[in-house]
Amino acid sequence: MERNNQLHRQVILSRQSLFDQGFLDEQFLQLEELQDDANPNFVEEIVTLHYRDSARLILSIEQALSVENFPFLNPKLLFSYLFYCLVQQVKRQLWCLKVASFLCLCRERNPLDFNKLDSLMHQFKGSSSSIGAKKVKAECTLFREFCSAGNGEGCIRTFQQLKKEYATLKKKLEAYFQLARQAGPAQTACRPK
């Protein structure tokens, strides 16, 4: 009993901290209200569904962001270009310049597709709003602002931050649900001796 009471207290505290620290908002409360005898694990089911959708979207966004990065860093691309230059018999001293210009061109020719990024982030924001992921949603909004401003750097930075917040929330929620499962339904704790 004592152990149970302690667990329950922990559950309550853990839940409250999620709200207090701004990880979750009223939507999570709505989900809890929807949980009933017909759907006793409703909240967890929704959160699981959300993870599935959001993981897919994060991957898509990453890919959309990374296309630009590769040509810069890929030595093979560089190699092929240099070989071409050799064949072309251009002056050696200009090679560096050519390489630099080539890389710039790569970026120019492969700019970030902000429309696509915005669209993906819109979906991600919708998914985050379904469980009330407050901090994650804030990052989504910021990301979309950078998209509409055409600021690729801002987008990439925000996305890194977003992934951090997402991971943090996921960890906290998983801990919370595990604790809740351990503690068991509240009624058992109140059972008289």
Binding site: E26, Q27, Q30, L31, E33, L34, N39, F42, E45, I46, L49, H50, D53, S60, Q63, A64, S66, V67, N69, F70, P71, N74, K76, L77, F79, S80, Y81, F83, Y84, V87, Q88, V90, L94, L97, K98, S101, F102, L105, C106, R109, N110, P111, D113, K116, S119, H122, Q123, K125, G126, S127, S129, S130, I131, G132
Partner: protein, 583 residues
């Protein structure tokens, strides 16, 4: 569709049991909304794709009361779905989105959404969605009554052989009734177009305008009709396509209800045909019919309870007078009909009329009018009096009155137009049925059209897998992509393919598998010059993974010769110079 509004299977009061269709590509939200709506005691159907939703809606037009749809969906724009639903099924649609920007909300309103909800959606917002269903029904009834009013005014203008004081009197009453209705509408109507002067000023469909409209529709042929065609034919400069579209929608509804009631009446009335004519039985039969009809019509909603009192009212006036039984209630509510009756020759043998009156309720009323017409002046003055009274009484029961009364003027309209002189009872009977068939034939094509669209879509779907086809380029792309997915080893093939479909790629970016998307960002000339491997490799994150295979000595050996070939072409050279060699 509920068959009997009075004995409702639901035990909870309205709005419990409201049938909602939810469309959203986000499965998490779909589940949440489903749970929320169930908690509101609504009947929920969920759908992940707009196309599926349209199929469901077209399958049975009256299976749902309201549709809730997300704005951003992969296969179809939410606004497009909204348009379709509004035009084909005329159901209230609520849009929802996580994005609450004014421009988006405005777009929703302009496309005809009843409401725009912001995600995250609270349950209390969903509790009140029934108001949109109710509001739409009320407006529909009003619009249809206005239509009726216009039709009958039209008829009186057409068939104006007899002019008498009483006639003119009723004519004025008619227009005043119509004006009052319009005034009511303008007052109560909360359409955005009403108050604000931004997009559309409210169009008043005058009788003349409506006449032009109907003429245009008949000219085009009801099954081929479209707002644009009507607009062109009508040749009214200030009228917009949207005005015509909404009016057409109402007109279609009106006609379909006409036809529906004809069907119900023929089924109900057929049995009574052999009864011996007598005033009382005719009157009571009329009441019976009207009860049945009201029952059937009220089935759409749970507003049926008020119908009882309406019937009672019908009975009372009837008991007053013999010949005027059926007439009283009907003329009271819709005095315009009395006018319409003028045209058929009133000097008909009563027995034949009465027989006819047994088979159809509305022709019965019509027949009564015919006799009524013979003692014309006195009856008219009489009809003028109670009309305003009863009109007031009937107002709260707008809904139900509208349902049952609606059909008669319409029928008469058809009759008047085609058969001005011959004995109305007999021929109008057949004309009614003909009209029924016409009406049904005319109305069916709309449904068939929709079904065809649906089947076209479904056949496209079957070929396209998950790629929802909206344009031809999409189809082309999909077919073209199959070689890529099956033959990824050959770099040359891919590159060659890239050349041909680069423009398609750009346009179809969104629906394409992410692996293909980087291709879309390439420019034409850049692509062409860097055909063999280099450009392809450097642009794709994906392709970089496969790079090691391509970068063996063999390929490298190939490259220079090809490049040489390219190089010594002067035009290509210059492009390369311009494009890449910035020095």
């Amino acid at each position: 569709m509920m068959d009997n509004g009075f004995s409702s299977p639901r035990h909870d009061p309205f709005p419990a049991g409201l049938r909602v269709l939810v469309v959203d590509d986000d499965l998490t939200w779909l589940k949440i909304l489903e749970k929320m709506l169930k908690k509101c005691s609504y009947e929920v159907t969920t759908c992940g794709l707009a196309i599926d939703a349209l199929h469901l809606l077209r399958e049975r037009k009256d299976r749902y009361d309201i549709v809730i749809s997300d704005v951003n969906m992969p296969d179809m724009d939410g606004f497009k779905l909204l348009e379709h639903v509004g035009l084909e099924m005329d159901l209230p649609v609520i849009m929802m989105s996580v994005d609450g920007e004014t421009s988006q909300v405005m777009k929703g309103v302009q496309h005809g959404a009843c409401d725009y909800l912001l995600k995250p959606i609270r349950m209390k917002e969903l509790r009140n969605i029934w108001q949109h269903v109710l509001r739409k029904k009320i407006h529909e009834v009003r619009d249809i009554e206005i239509l009726e009013g216009m039709e009958s005014i039209q008829m009186t203008r057409n068939g104006l052989d007899q002019s008498s004081d009483g006639h003119l009197l009723c004519g004025e009453d008619l227009t005043s009734v119509k004006k009052r209705k319009e005034a009511e509408n303008k007052h109560d109507d909360k359409d955005p177009g009403d108050s604000s002067s931004t997009k559309k000023a409210r169009v008043v469909w005058s009788v003349d305008l409506h006449q032009k409209f109907v003429k245009a529709v008949n000219q085009i042929g009801f099954d081929k009709v479209g707002p644009k065609k009507i607009l062109d034919l009508m040749n009214v400069p200030w009228l917009t396509r949207e005005n015509v579209a909404s009016h057409l929608q109402k007109y279609r509804l009106y006609l379909s209800r006409l036809q529906k009631e004809n069907d119900t009446k023929t089924s109900v009335g057929g049995g009574k045909h052999s009864d011996s004519p007598s005033r009382d039985s005719a009157g009571s039969f009329g009441i019976q019919n009207s009860i049945n009809i009201q029952r059937n019509d009220i089935s759409n909603g749970s507003y049926g309870f008020s119908g009882n009192s309406l019937i009672v009212r019908n009975v009372e006036p009837r008991s007053q007078e013999n010949e005027r039984k059926g007439i009283v209630s009907k003329t009271a509510v819709e005095p315009k009909r009395a006018l319409a009756v003028e045209v058929p020759d009133p000097c008909k043998p009563k027995s034949s009329e009465m027989e006819f009156g047994h088979s159809f309720t509305s022709p019965a009323s019509e027949v009564n009018f015919a006799e009524f017409g013979s003692n014309f002046p006195t009856k008219f003055s009489w009809c003028a009096i109670p009309q305003s009274q009863l009109k007031q009484e009937q107002n709260p029961l707008h809904l139900d009155a509208g349902f049952s009364q609606r059909t008669r003027p319409g029928k008469q309209q058809h009759i008047q137009v085609d058969y001005p002189q011959p004995s109305p009872p007999i021929i109008s009977g057949s004309s009614v049925t003909e009209r029924n068939m016409d009406g049904s034939v005319k109305i069916k094509p709309i449904y068939d059209e929709c079904r065809n669209n649906g089947s076209q879509v479904s056949s496209a779907r079957s070929t396209m897998d998950s790629y929802q086809v909206q344009t031809k380029t999409y189809e082309v792309n999909h077919q073209a992509y199959e070689p890529i997915s099956t033959n990824t080893s050959s770099l040359k093939n891919q590159a060659a393919f890239n050349l041909s479909s680069i423009s398609d790629l750009e346009s179809a970016q969104k629906s394409i598998n992410w692996a293909m998307s980087p291709l879309a960002t390439l420019d034409d000339d850049f692509q062409v010059r860097w055909v063999q491997g280099d450009c392809y490799a450097m642009n794709l994150g994906l392709q970089n993974i496969e790079f090691p295979e391509y970068f063996d000595g063999g390929l490298l050996a190939d490259v220079p010769t090809h490049l040489y070939e390219n190089l010594y072409d002067s035009t290509e050279c210059s492009v390369i110079e311009q494009g890449l060699f910035i020095a």
